[in-house]
Amino acid sequence: MFEGSVPIAHYLTLSAVLFVIGIVGVLVRRNVIVVFMSIEIMLNAVNISLIAFDHYLNLSNGQIFSFMVMCVAAAEVSVGLAIIIALHRNKPTVNLDEFNLLKW
């Protein structure tokens, strides 16, 4: 029963689950950093399906794509963390809900 390869659907499911966990993280956490990590989880989740599709279709676009995703992730992280630092300079907190000047 342990023969044969894993059906792609399972990989996709895994990625979906991780993706949603990422979403939930964004929704429920107030710690900027953690929210940010959750977003990273989402990106990673996507990577899984990219590779899975590559594997399934015998193509390499997906891998290129995920390569790019990593660049993007890196870039975003750098900028994002920079922003967080800048924020922290004016307002020493990482609690998202305290950034609430702009509303209505």
Partner: protein
């Protein structure tokens, strides 16, 4: 050619009014008076010239039309600004210009103390020219100009003392009540155009028998509408209520407008349209009935009033009722005859009353008069003559005219009309002499510190002239020998109507339209003129008149206490004295509800419902925008949540 002068007749008073209106204040009262009366005199003379010109017309031509300019039109509808002269017009022209001139003269004296003398005469002349337009117009719309013009002028003149609320109300009331009539008139005109494709009198009257079915729906509706118009102008039931109030105006106004001329316009119009009315038996019945009813009702009210002018006003209403009755039974000559004589004696009576009021400084209540005959003899005698005339004492004019009306009521109508007419005559004689006795005889009840005096010449001369006319006016229609009847022969061309031919056409039309024609044969069997019966009736009505006078004499000279005894606590009397409560009735049924409805419409419907819905929409949008704002909580988390929700909902839409 003299007839070319026709258009000048209404023009002179118009010019006079314009001059007085614009420069009256500068040129001084005398000049104003001269201009006003002069313009009337001029148009009177012109009418005489026109009359001569008319007599010179070749044999068989009984109408002259003069189109001044083409007024307006659209498509195949067009209406000219044109005058027509025919025997009927001429008669009316003489009445209006003649009596009008006399009353103008009188007014110069009567109004002399007024500050805005010029305004009065501007209106007065304007009225005269409007009235002339009314009678001389050669089509319905031009007549309508005059028709509304006179109404408008009477509005001004009734409200002449515009600081008195009652005067203003009376004026407004007169205008609006008249408007009700005009509304019907207007509809009639449209209907006429719809059928005839023209609104020219001569053409319409000529084409009537071919285009209309005898007793058909169309003609009945048209004539009914016209008649409603007439009731408005001529103060017949149910639209008569404005006339008594109109007495708020200066007395000359009452004399000229509300006795001699304007109020008779309705009668004139019906006679003018006789060709239509002849085809509408039902309408005729209505006309006669309303006329007779008005005659009696007004007379009864007249018996109970104490304001001298109101009494005369009601008597006017009742006399016009007579004329209507005459029209209703097809005796158009009689109607016109009575119109003319009435113009004479009623004008005289009003002016007389004016002279009385003038003599005792504006007192109008007869209970504060009495025994004036010694103070103002001329007024008294002229007044008496006219009273006898209206009461129908031979050989004064009123006798003949009224008698002719009654005769025809009996012959062409039926016994009921005659009965009503004769009883109205009785009442007339009674209340008129009641008036005379209360005013001039008995002991004076005048306020002691008022010294009655006779009026100046300029006021008494007209009285004399009018009294003379009231006496002699009967000549126009003394029916001594069969067929010898000046007025009748004179009006023949206007009133000629060939019933047989009309019936023939109607049958033809109905046949074409595939309907069956009722038998009209009985309408055609001839009626002979029974001279002896007429003689008898004359005598009878004379006796009736005398009875009335006698009654009045008993009540107000011999036994002055009787009226008290009879009227005390009689609910009937109360009812009659406040005019059968018709005014109140109208107030309750029409005026108040309208105003309340309007208020409701405005406050509830307009402000709340209609505008409310508009504003409501705006409010809803505002509320929604508040909601839209509320989502912008400013928390990143919620924003993300929205994205997620959007995601799931889009998924749901997709799958």
């Amino acid at each position: 050619m003299l007839l070319k002068l026709t258009c000048l007749v209404p023009l002179f008073p118009l010019i006079g009014s314009i001059i007085n209106g614009f420069f009256g204040l500068r040129i001084g009262k005398n000049a104003v008076g001269i201009i006003a009366a002069g313009s009337m005199a001029l148009s009177f003379l012109t009418s005489i010239l026109v009359f001569i010109g008319f007599l010179l017309l070749p044999e068989g031509q009984h109408i002259f039309e003069q189109v001044v300019w083409s007024w307006f039109g659209a498509g195949d509808f067009s209406v000219d600004f044109g005058f027509q002269v025919d025997p009927l017009t001429l008669v009316m022209m003489f009445v209006v210009t003649g009596v009008g001139f006399i009353i103008h003269v009188y007014a110069i004296g009567y109004m002399h103390e007024e500050y805005s003398f010029y305004r009065f005469f501007a209106y007065f002349n304007l009225f005269a020219s409007a009235m002339l337009l009314l009678i001389m117009g050669n089509n319905f719309l031009l007549m309508f100009i005059g028709w509304e013009g006179v109404g408008c002028c009477s509005y001004f003149l009734i409200g002449y003392y515009f600081e008195k609320k009652s005067a203003c109300d009376a004026g407004t009331k007169a205008f609006i009540v008249n408007r009700v009539g005009d509304f019907a008139f207007l509809l009639a005109v449209m209907y006429i155009f719809n059928i005839f494709g023209t609104i020219d009198f001569s053409e319409v009257m000529h084409a009537a028998p071919e285009k209309l079915v005898y007793a058909g729906e169309a003609v009945t509706i048209i004539t009914m509408l016209l008649f409603v118009g007439a009731t408005g102008k001529s103060a017949q039931i149910p639209l008569y209520t404005w006339l008594p109030d109109a007495m708020e105006g200066p007395t000359p106004v009452s004399a000229l407008i509300h006795a001699a001329t304007m109020v008779t316009a309705g009668v004139y119009m019906i006679v003018r349209c006789n060709a239509l009315f002849n085809l509408a038996p039902m309408t005729m019945l209505a006309v006669a009935g309303i006329g007779a009813a008005t005659a009696i009702m007004a007379a009864t009210i007249g018996m109970t009033q104490f304001d001298i002018k109101r009494v005369l006003a009601y008597s006017t209403v009742s006399q016009i009722g007579y004329m209507m009755l005459a029209c209703g039974v097809g005796a158009y000559t009689a109607a016109i005859f009575h119109l003319v004589t009435h113009a004479f004696f009623k004008a005289c009576l009003f002016l007389g009353s004016g002279s009385v009021i003038h003599g005792i400084h504006g007192e109008q209540d007869m209970r504060k008069m009495g025994g004036l005959k010694n103070y103002m003899p001329v007024t008294y005698w002229t007044f008496l003559v006219s009273t006898l005339a209206i009461a129908g004492i031979p050989p004064l004019s009123g006798f003949f005219s009224k008698d002719e009306v009654l005769y025809h009521a009996l012959m062409d109508g039926n016994i009921i009309f005659w009965g009503m007419g004769i009883s109205a005559a009785l009442l007339t004689a009674f209340y008129m002499f009641r008036l005379v006795f209360m005013t001039f005889h008995g002991e004076s009840r005048v306020d002691p510190n008022v010294h009655p005096h006779e009026s100046p010449k300029v006021m008494t001369m007209p009285l004399v002239i009018l009294a003379g006319l009231a006496t002699a006016g009967g000549i126009l229609g003394i029916p001594l020998f069969h067929g010898w009847h000046i007025l009748h022969n004179w009006l023949e061309p206007v009133l000629h109507f060939d019933l047989a031919n009309a019936l023939h056409h109607s049958e033809h039309i109905l046949h074409e339209a595939g309907r069956h024609a009722p038998s009209w044969a009985h309408l055609l069997d001839p009626k002979e003129h029974n001279i002896w019966l007429e003689m008898f009736l004359m005598v009878f009505s004379a006796c009736v008149a005398i009875t009335g006078i006698a009654a009045a004499y008993i009540f107000y000279i011999k036994r002055p206490d009787l009226p008290e005894k009879f009227t005390k606590g009689q609910w009937g009397f109360e009812l009659v004295q406040n005019k059968y409560g018709v005014d109140e009735l109208y107030d309750e049924t029409f005026v108040k509800p309208t105003v309340e409805a309007s208020n409701l419409l405005w406050k509830e419907c307009d402000a709340k419902a209609i505008d409310g819905s508009v504003i409501g929409t705006a409010k809803i949008i505002g509320w929604l925008s508040k909601q839209a704002q509320a989502f912008q909580s400013g928390f990143v988390r919620n924003y993300a949540l929205f994205i997620a929700v959007g995601f799931i909902s889009l998924l749901l839409i997709m799958f």
